[in-house]
């Protein structure tokens, strides 16, 4: 894997900066301000993605802020410029989901992913603007999805891996009824400066336990397990070099004002004396394809690619990982050409080692 692809597989869109929650681990700046994306931005993006979506599967992810805080009327106006071949996804805190939103998702064929951290006691970081727990509203929103028979994915943030937690969480998500689950160990990122260092033994044991819990009832597509097994299967087949894509997906994030940040959506809204505002252009003035074609002209991206090369040269986990994420490098190291991050340790290295520990500990017995 070398360089950055000029055609993405998806675009992240920020319909509003506003969020109605104030989760303590959130990385987003401006989440208390309601800066809405003008329809002209959506039109510019829709025009850019038309040839890409005609050539293959293509998605738009409506992220935030809380995307539903934009309101149905405005959201519908932002969707309107896109052709029917474009898949739409929304990542939501679920608190605003009601009957009307369920109808909206069904009408517009929007795939839904909810953010929830497990049972109520595990959601203490997810609070509203007054600091009150948000779980009851989150659960009501998810129950509305279930009541409408709408499939959904879930993202769960783990603040501190500890014995028993993985089993508890997996049982919860089985009961919740999600089709897909992603587990994110909390990251030091954006405006979240909480320490995310954990012992290697702690995180490896967490992932090993999660594999065990999943294996007992693998109804859920568990992102981390699937990716790990895909890699180890390729290693055993001798095809590990084919696991990573040939080039990095640029993952353009289009902010509310049309500005484009590549590779790491978490960088949107930040600036640095050395790197500027991390943007590579604005879709209101430059076609998105042109912005992507000139990606390496953005100074921080050149430095990031040096960092990926360093990961490739130095890290035995590179074939599994593809290199530390840009935002983790920046927010942990203050630059982009460093290598291993605590996010790597928690969510890549510890994960793979946890899967291997589980496999070694559960080898079939000879008969």
């Amino acid at each position: 894997m070398r360089g950055i692809a000029t055609v993405p597989t998806y675009v992240v869109m920020q319909p509003t900066t506003l969020c109605n929650l104030d989760c303590s681990y959130c990385y987003l700046p401006m989440r208390r301000e309601d800066r809405r994306m003008p329809v002209e931005v959506a039109e510019a993006v829709a025009s850019a993605v038309r040839p890409w979506s005609a050539a293959g599967r293509f998605s738009v992810v409506w992220h935030g802020g809380e995307p539903l805080a934009a309101g149905r009327e405005h959201f519908a106006a932002l969707l309107r410029p896109f052709g029917p071949e474009v898949e739409h996804h929304v990542q939501t805190n679920a608190t605003l989901i009601d009957e009307a939103w369920c109808d909206f998702f069904a009408t517009h064929d929007i795939r839904v992913s909810v953010s929830v951290d497990g049972p109520v006691a595990r959601n203490t970081d997810r609070v509203n603007l007054a600091g009150k727990p948000a779980y009851d509203r989150i659960r009501r929103g998810i129950d509305a999805l279930r009541g409408h028979g709408l499939p959904f994915s879930a993202l769960c943030v783990v603040g501190r891996p500890s014995p028993g937690l993985a089993t508890e969480l997996y049982a919860y998500f089985l009961e919740l009824g999600c089709d897909v689950l992603g587990v994110n160990v909390e990251e030091l990122e954006g405006v979240n400066t909480r320490d995310n260092r954990h012992s290697a033994a702690e995180v490896t044991a967490f992932w090993a336990e999660l594999v065990g819990a999943w294996r007992r009832d693998p109804r859920i597509h568990l992102r981390e397990v699937e990716w790990s097994l895909r890699y180890v299967g390729a290693v055993l087949d001798g095809t590990a070099d084919d696991v990573l894509p040939r080039r990095l997906d640029p993952i353009p994030t289009v902010a509310h004002d049309g500005s484009v940040v590549l590779l790491s959506p978490e960088l949107a809204g930040f600036s640095d004396p050395r790197y500027g505002d991390f943007t590579s252009g604005n879709v209101l003035t430059t076609p998105l394809a042109e912005i992507l074609a000139g990606a390496v002209g953005t100074p921080w991206i050149r430095e990031f690619l040096d960092g990926v090369d360093a990961c490739r040269a130095q890290c035995p986990y590179f074939g599994f990982c593809g290199g530390a994420h840009a935002a983790n490098r920046y927010f942990e190291h203050g630059r982009f050409d460093g290598t291993v991050t605590d996010h790597c340790r928690n969510s890549k290295i510890g994960l793979l080692e946890g899967v291997l520990d589980h496999a070694r500990d559960h080898e079939p017995t000879a008969v």
Partner: protein
């Protein structure tokens, strides 16, 4: 799921320690991989399924967008 039966093997000295550890766990991984494949079939991920949040296993690189491994929004 098999119970813990085997002691850990020592790690062979190879150029790539991660690859070596994967091979060291081959037997356990093979069983896990078989179960995972069966689970995917049960979840109907190996065929296009329009009403699933997962969609199709064939679209692995673009499973609902938040699941791109190289980077992803949260």
């Amino acid at each position: 799921m098999p119970e813990i039966m085997n002691p850990r093997r020592s790690e062979p000295v190879e150029a790539d320690p991660v690859t070596a550890r994967v091979h060291d766990a081959r037997d356990g991984l093979a069983a896990l991989l078989r179960e995972a494949e069966a689970a995917r079939r049960d979840r109907a991920e190996s065929i296009a399924k329009g009403d699933s949040a997962v969609c199709a296993w064939n679209h692995f690189e673009n499973i609902p967008t938040f699941y791109n491994w190289n980077n992803r929004p949260r």
